[in-house]
Amino acid sequence: MPEMPYWKKLWILFFTFARIATLVVGGGYAILPVVEETFSKKYNWLSSEELLDMMGLVQTVPGIIACNSAIYVGRRVAGFGGILAAAFGVCLPSVLIILTIAMFFPDLNPENPWLLGAFRGVRSCVTALVTMAAFRMAKKVLKSWFEYTIAAAALILVLLCKVEPVYVILGAMPCGVLYAWYKSMRTAPAPDGGKDGAE
């Protein structure tokens, strides 16, 4: 296959991510199938293994998952220009749609009782979505006493002590490092393969 011109790659990156941001409601994992279809199957720019790696990585670096995915794919395909094209593609549709809504509906506080009821209904639905997401995430994250302790302490801090979430996240980092260090100290002195190591 002849090498595609650079600007065309940028256009495909921009257009595909704009399409993902416009059509895929809900974000997160929902974008994976479209990314796979376009970039692995159609253009062969990324292997499936790379896509799986990407799904793990985009959750461990800070920022929005969809945007991080765009940055990852953009960099692999077309370097720095690719990053800008893909990230711009992810953001543009949302910004335009929400700007339009905000201009016509600036206080989001309707008087109409039917509309108020509909909003309460949607908020209840979002509560259920958040609840499901929380328990699904708990099943993946809570593996040992360490995760339970950090999660419980963090929840008490934000919920009852009104500590800002920023500090909870920042405070959890050194705890994790200390725990990893403590575990490595306990398992390291066993030179014969560490059969009795924790885990």
């Binding site: 929005i64 992810v90 509909a118 908020r123």
Partner: protein
């Protein structure tokens, strides 16, 4: 909030949100609703509801909307830009270094600490959302302290159970558990049910 504060606050959010939209929600509430009071809890709830039914990442949608309220179109663009700015700058670097050093003690330890703390934030978001869907006001957790200290607790007069909200919440949980309906369909159904039940 002036435009530069707006931009910097969203840069901060972009730096500390790990793992997707629902982690960003409690961070936004802490800063925008509780600390700076630029948006009320009800309006914020409606905003997240709209962000759920419109395409695009929740974070970008919320940034655009809050930015527009604070500084018009320029505010909307600056807030969204601020949110993705850390990913654009740090993303490629973080992808590289996390992939390279993910088995090293400091990096794996940090991630080990961040994950349960982010999980706690999602549970925190769940509590906050219950206060604007299943209940009619924020859940008065301070009452727990009074209960322990004095044996009696005063519950605010505007805090009541919303039967319509609770019904929709439980129905959506059941539907998510038993069927594979997409979240868009669930939200549209809930809006219709809310208009009928929650007036």
């Amino acid at each position: 909030m002036n435009l530069s504060t707006l931009f910097l606050v969203f840069v901060k959010f972009g730096c500390i949100s790990f793992g997707g939209g629902f982690v960003l929600v409690p961070i936004l509430i802490a800063e925008m609703v509780e600390k700076r009071q630029v948006i009320s809890m009800d309006v914020f709830g409606n905003l997240v509801s709209i962000a759920q039914v419109t395409p695009g990442p929740i974070g970008i949608n919320a940034a655009t909307y809050i930015g527009y309220l604070q500084g018009g179109v320029a505010g909307a663009v600056l807030a969204s830009l601020g949110l993705v700015f850390p990913s654009l700058v740090l993303g490629p670097l973080a992808f590289y270094s996390i992939a390279r050093w993910k088995d090293s003690l400091p990096v794996s330890g940090m991630l080990k600490g961040i994950r349960p703390a982010s999980l706690a934030l999602v549970f925190f978001a769940m509590f906050l959302f219950m206060g604007m869907s299943v209940f009619t006001a924020r859940i008065p957790l301070e009452a727990l302290f009074d209960l322990v200290k004095t044996g009696t607790a005063s519950i605010p007069a505007d805090f009541r159970l919303s039967f319509g909200g609770l019904t929709i919440f439980l129905a959506v949980l059941l539907l998510m558990w038993k069927t594979k309906l997409s979240s868009t369909i669930l939200i549209l159904l809930s809006a219709a049910a809310g208009a009928l039940l929650c007036r």
